[in-house]
Amino acid sequence: MVEVHLWSGLRSLTGGQQVVEVKAKTTGELLRALVHAHPQLQAPIDAGVSIAIDGRVIATGLTEPIPEGSEVYLMQRLRGG
Amino acid sequence: MSKLHVSTTVNGDAVEYLCDPRETLLDCLRDKLNLTGAKEGCGTGDCGACSVTVDGRLVCSCLMLGVEAEGKQIATVEGIAEGDVLHPLQQKMIEYAALQCGICTPGILVAAKSLLEKNPNPTEEETRYWLAGNLCRCTGYDKIIRAVMDTAAELREAS
């Protein structure tokens, strides 16, 4: 199981939960599992998210492995100049 | 609106073109003579990317009409190197990495060459003020000023 930390703005979509526990081995699985657990998270995920695994920001990749026990944060998609 | 015939000299070559009286010297250099070294960054004389010399005088070619070039001696960035030998300013600009994107570089080179011809030993302040009409957005000017001043020093030593 992976504990996914959401940004606080998403609490309104998860019934107040800021940490959601899901089963996932990759970033793509994680996003699917999040939507399964909380369908309203589809909107922010469609709008674009990044995932930080142990501090390393995965900007867009859906195939990055999530090692057991990693710290996982959902973040808004990063954009640059 | 009829076009006007102009005979002039660019980088030592006699050239002719027909132009609308509204066209600038910059338009004529770029579009009629295919000398695209001078750039249009603003069209209002505020950026210096179109710098050329006319009878030895540094000007913005966007602030001069093509018809005014009749009988003049124009010099552009394309004429700075002699054959395959770069002018020391060109060499130093490369060595100092005094350009990033390079769009202002032709104007800077024409302006700096004009400075060194008038003042072989400029101070940093004189160099900065002389080049104040040449906008560079990439470098913060640091490496440009160093390249120009080092060229000046080298040319003084050589002479």
């Binding site: 709008a47 390393r56 100049g81 | 070294g37 960035v77 769009i103 957005r137």
Partner: protein, 751 residues
Amino acid sequence: MALDDRKSDFTFVGTRPNRPDGLDKVTGRAKFGADISAPGMLHGAVLRSPHAHARIVKIDTSKAEAHKDVKAVVTRADFAEVPFKPGLEGEFWNVLENVMAGEKALYDGHAVAAIAASSALAARDALKLIEVEYDVLSHVTDVDKAMAPDAPVIREGAADYSVPEGMHPNVVRYHESGHGDVEAGFSEADLVTEDSFVTEATHQGYIEPHACLGMLGNDGKGELWCTTQGHWIAQKTCAALLGIETSQLRVTASEIGGGFGGKTTVFIEPVALALSRKANRPVKIVMTRSEVFRATGPTSSASMDIKIGMKKDGTITAAQGVFRLQGGAFPGAPGDMTAMCAFAPYNLTNVKQIGYDVMSNRPKQAAYRAPGAPMGAFAVESVIDELCNKLGLDPVDVRLKNAAHEGTKASYGPTYERIGLVETLEAAKAHPHYTAPLKPGQGRGISCGFWFNHGGETSVSLALSEDGSAQLMVGTPDIGGSRASMALMAAEVLGIPYENIRVTVADTASLGYNDVSHGSRVTYASGLATIKAAKHAVERLCERAATKWGIPTDAVKWEDGCAVPSGPNAGDFDPMPLADITADMGSTGGPISGHFEATPEGAGVSFGTHIVDAEVDPETGKTCVTRYTVIQDAGKAIHPTYVEGQYQGGAAQGIGWALNEEYVYGEDGRLQNSIFLDYRIPVASDLPMIDTVIVEVPNPGHPFGVRGVGETGIVPPLAAIANAVSNAAGVRMKQLPMSPPRILAALKGNG
């Protein structure tokens, strides 16, 4: 990305060779966007709205179409139907609506029609023949006013899921994040300071206006030459907007005369293609400077509220920020980025940040170097400076005390990997600038800054030639000397001299997809891809050597440009240089190439600390920056001179933003200062030399340790200069730019 064989010992990397495009650029022969023509070429010009907000009742193009010099006229009807979606999901619709207005003109300068004619003058003249009937609507250009209940609505339905109920329809995205309990934190503080800050919109100010040459036939096949930071995104977007297949449009990037984020999207490119399709001839469009200011993508303007609590020893107990960013008539203002970056340099127990993306009647904002981050840093670092002043604490010590480091929980959530903020602060403290005496009337300011950096989709291909030279094709336009950096990294892996590698920015038909040159990603991502592509080629080279020697491939390794037996048991063979292997490669298995395609994830965040001295004339409010030092973590500087150049350029742009650059809108909603005379970027005589210190704390996500360096350099200057000016003037400056009238007014208000 596997972090295999990290390298820390370099032969070529870290040297400072001349750039490969230097000769072209000092002789005037480098081809920028406007420097190309085609046989039969027409010239395009764009008709733009003189109104900030107006319904387009009718466009009559008949007189223009009847003119003998006019070969095509286009309006919105000549583009594809693209679905509208809220927020950033409908970005193709947003871009199309920006490229050519639909039902409404949304800002002064918004394109409403375009013409292709036989000459540039004829095209401009013919614009006057197009008759547009407008129904002028009330407008709003200020972010706070755009959020007010009575503000005119720019577009219903543009808000995405994130916006709380009850907000004005102009608020289109909302971000909230943080951790801990800020109220509890404030109650632990010895001093709490709360203040509001404003920054005006600025422009990237690249010296080269947008320019392109497009050719499109009614068979759906096209060619586009343009000045861009990313030709694949131009390809993808133009194809979508014109309703053609992406692969049928080949896009070639010209040399680019500056971008800084502003050339990451399209403006005139789809218009040139639409005109070309209609006229069946190539069409060139070159923007005027005024068009660049009015109708490309400036930054957001911002209004911000900051509250920070501090103990007497300098410990920050809580920090809170609200960041309202206006990004023009479309979603996209990076309020979320501002919020996430604002407190990122600090190790905070209690932090909360809120960001708003607000629409107004201004041009669609585009990225500008670390988009969103400089504004937030200005507000936050100003309050920290004020707290230091009030508590009598040294500003570097306070920042060191609170600095984020490896293991710190970032203000935006996750735990930091190895980062270099502390190193930049220690370097600042040790730098002679920090302790140099100040003259009367001068003040010193410091600030930290943070930026995420980016990886992004990347494709690189490397081909070896028979003579042992290499050609490297990358897909990221070179905006600051990256061809030199790529060649250095390839040289490092191949073990052949830098000069033997020719780097080309390939067109979209020659390479797989590449993201834009943005997010400080080029040296990181294209660099990583170059290293991997070169390693791929090295594997092939080792295979050929193994075959020639008759030993297993894994018994061969690559050293200093030669295949060598991997150990004494592998056999006794003389090193085989690269050129010996390539010489007959055609008959030993065929051409040898290497390539790499991936989306590298692991860009590595970066931090900088800046020190500024400023002198303020108390009678006129005029500021002079007298000394400037940039200290920033580069991870590993591949070409240190170009790293310095990025630092200096970022600082110079920051100085402009802090002191004089701003978009000035009149009561009529029209831009008042759309020329370089009145949009005041720094000139050579405005600036001192800009000192640089390159800190190198390797990025664990790159084989050579690279962190992007392009953007972070513009994050600290606004705050550092504001702190210097405030300390020199004796009054806290809360609005940028700190133009002389604002400083003088602040001084008078204080006196």
